[in-house]
């Protein structure tokens, strides 16, 4: 075990093997009965409520949530290096980080929030 990544590789192989095994097994062993209802959003046939706008598959607000998630996800990318090297970076960087968060997080957040982007109704 010279390479530190070897255990990880083994883990990946195990994981992939398990997935392939179980999916393959389900294909072979499981019963296959086709039913159109299975292709629907809710198998029981209930109409999705609220109705997707103008016949789309999902209401658009799901998209808005996903997208806002990405924006805040990206901010975390910078928070991590900052946190790791925090003690060596000094006051200047604290201000830089503050400015970044003010702009990309607080202002963006305030705007989306006040405009009802987070409301789920």
């Amino acid at each position: 075990m010279t390479n530190p990544y070897t255990p990880m590789l083994i883990l990946v192989a195990l994981g992939a093997g398990f997935v392939i095994f179980s999916v393959g097994l389900a294909q072979i062993v499981g019963p296959k009965r086709y039913n159109r209802a299975k292709a629907e959003a809710y198998e029981c046939g209930i109409q999705p409520s609220p109705q997707a706008a103008e016949g789309g598959r999902f209401p658009i607000k799901y998209y808005l949530t996903a997208m806002l998630f990405i924006i805040f996800d990206i901010e975390a990318v910078f928070l991590y290096p900052y946190a790791v090297a925090f003690d060596q970076l000094g006051l200047f960087t604290l201000l830089a980080m503050f400015l970044f968060l003010l702009n990309a997080f607080f202002i963006a957040d305030a705007y989306v929030w006040k405009r009802g982007g987070f409301e789920w109704d």
């Binding site: 103008e54 016949g55 789309g56 998209y63 990405i70 924006i71 990206i74």
Partner: protein, 99 residues
């Protein structure tokens, strides 16, 4: 093996991305082609960073990812808006504007 192989791979992925943009007619897939091109560039940046023994290339790759995510959000919002208007995402159907 030498590090050049990564650059080969990057060039190939970039070209495939370009072909996707030019050949495919579906706006979402075209956009994915653009993302592929950006990823190819990132691979080149990272490999060059290793060649030169610098971290600059890695930082650049990080910024490219941030930029690309913002671009994805805006782009998909536009694609969604147009899809809702016309119920189709094929850019061939976007033909009100004739050349």
């Amino acid at each position: 093996m030498s590090l050049v192989n990564y650059i080969y791979l990057s060039a190939i992925l970039f070209s495939i991305g370009g072909a996707v943009v030019l050949l495919r007619r579906n706006a979402i897939i075209v956009f994915m082609g653009v993302e592929l091109m950006l990823n190819a560039a990132n691979l080149a940046f990272i490999t060059f960073a290793r060649m030169h023994g610098q971290l600059d290339g890695q930082v650049i790759a990080l910024f490219v990812m941030v930029v690309a995510s913002a671009e994805v959000v805006v782009g998909l919002a536009i694609i969604m808006a147009i899809f809702r208007s016309r119920r189709s995402a094929s850019i061939d159907n976007a033909n009100l504007l004739k050349a």
